[in-house]
């Protein structure tokens, strides 16, 4: 999940989620960033409404537990 955390950190800090920034954050945390995963992350987040995802996580049930008998 570290790539995702890095992305959310950048988002929260109001920074662009681009390869350079993600790598900088990961390396500051002492993680060797895998190039392909960084690329994949940046590509996956392109056009995604992060605020929307955040607000869903915050508002929505934390998780779903429904095991009806």
């Amino acid at each position: 999940m570290e790539y995702i955390y890095a992305a959310l950190l950048l988002h929260n800090a109001g920074k662009d989620i681009n390869e350079e920034n993600v790598k900088a954050v990961l390396s500051a945390a002492g993680t060797a960033a895998d190039d392909a995963r960084v690329k994949a992350l940046v590509a996956a987040l392109d056009g995604v409404d992060i605020e929307d995802a955040i607000s869903k996580a915050a508002a929505a049930p934390v998780a779903v537990a429904a095991a009806p008998a």
């Binding site: 999940m1 995702i4 959310l8 996956a44 987040l45 995604v48 995802a53 996580a57 998780a63």
Partner: protein, 282 residues
């Protein structure tokens, strides 16, 4: 083979040759039993299968002869010839053929002496009959009938014939009057052949709901794997972000990291803890 004479009449020879030719033309051949299918229904079935499968009716002896002459695995199909046999030729695979034939089955009234393919249930409620001898007939067949508001009514829902039991004449008559059609009528697949393999009908009867359930399961697994391994895909990016956010919120709330975004939830947690304790105290 020794049972056969060498010299078949010309028309029989033509029939056998035609069957053999179809075996070469179509990749899949089914052996079906058409017993008890009324002509009109058979017409309908042929219509429904047009363009998908071709039905060839022939005398049993000629069918058997053709199968034997082809030989190999095909000859083994002879053992499944029963009732009123026909061959069905198609390009669809044997499982699909089975499915198609199941779909062409229709319900019909039972004839005396037939075996119930499933429990036959008469539902309670009003019938369209006016009071008359019908009440006695129903009662004699073991169906709880009564008269209410000038109509014949069935008092209770009742299973009148159990699956596997024979339907007697009286029952068949009553069921027909009640418009209950318990019999499945259609082409019954006895065996199917494709590319060196003869498939038994038990093998061909696949349960689609099982496959659908597996698809749902596989989709869940893929979703879980994508999210848990944080490998984003178009369908899961939102869920992965949400998971990370939830984790961060959860950590903050559990550990009491007083951040604006979660202070509400921290207050809420403290308050609920207080409520829980209060219940114990008071």
């Amino acid at each position: 083979m020794a049972l056969y004479t060498h010299h078949l009449p010309a028309w029989k020879r033509t029939e056998v040759e035609e069957i053999k030719r179809h075996f070469e033309e179509y990749p899949v051949v089914g052996l079906v039993d058409m017993y008890g299918i009324p002509a009109t229904q058979l017409q309908q079935i042929r219509e429904n299968l047009r363009g998908v499968a071709y039905i060839k009716m022939a005398r049993k002896t000629l069918t058997r002869r053709a199968l034997d002459e082809i030989g190999g695995e095909v000859a083994g199909m002879s053992a499944h010839i029963s009732g009123q046999s026909a061959l069905i030729f198609t390009s669809e695979n044997p499982f699909k053929l089975y499915k198609l034939l199941e779909q062409t089955k229709t319900k019909m009234a039972a004839k005396p002496g037939e075996t119930a393919p499933e429990d036959i249930i008469v539902a309670k409620g009003p019938t369209s009959f006016k009071p008359g001898p019908i009440v006695g007939e129903l009662q004699q067949a073991g169906i709880p009938a009564m008269i209410e508001a000038g109509k014949v009514k069935i008092k209770d829902t009742k299973t009148v014939v159990k699956r596997g039991e024979v339907i007697n004449a009286k029952m068949a008559d009553v069921l027909a009057k009640l418009s209950i059609k318990p019999m499945d009528v259609g082409l019954i697949l006895k065996a199917a052949y494709q590319n060196g393999t003869v498939f038994a009908p038990e093998t061909l009867a696949i349960d689609e709901t099982v496959f659908l359930g597996q698809i749902t399961l596989a989709a869940q697994q893929a979703f879980n794997l994508s999210v848990n391994a944080a490998y984003p895909t178009a369908q899961t990016t939102g869920a992965i972000l949400a998971k990370a956010v939830r984790e961060a919120r959860s950590l903050g709330i559990e550990a009491g990291v007083y951040e604006k975004d979660i202070i509400d939830a921290i207050i809420g947690k403290a308050y609920r803890s207080s409520l829980a304790l209060k219940e114990l105290v008071e």
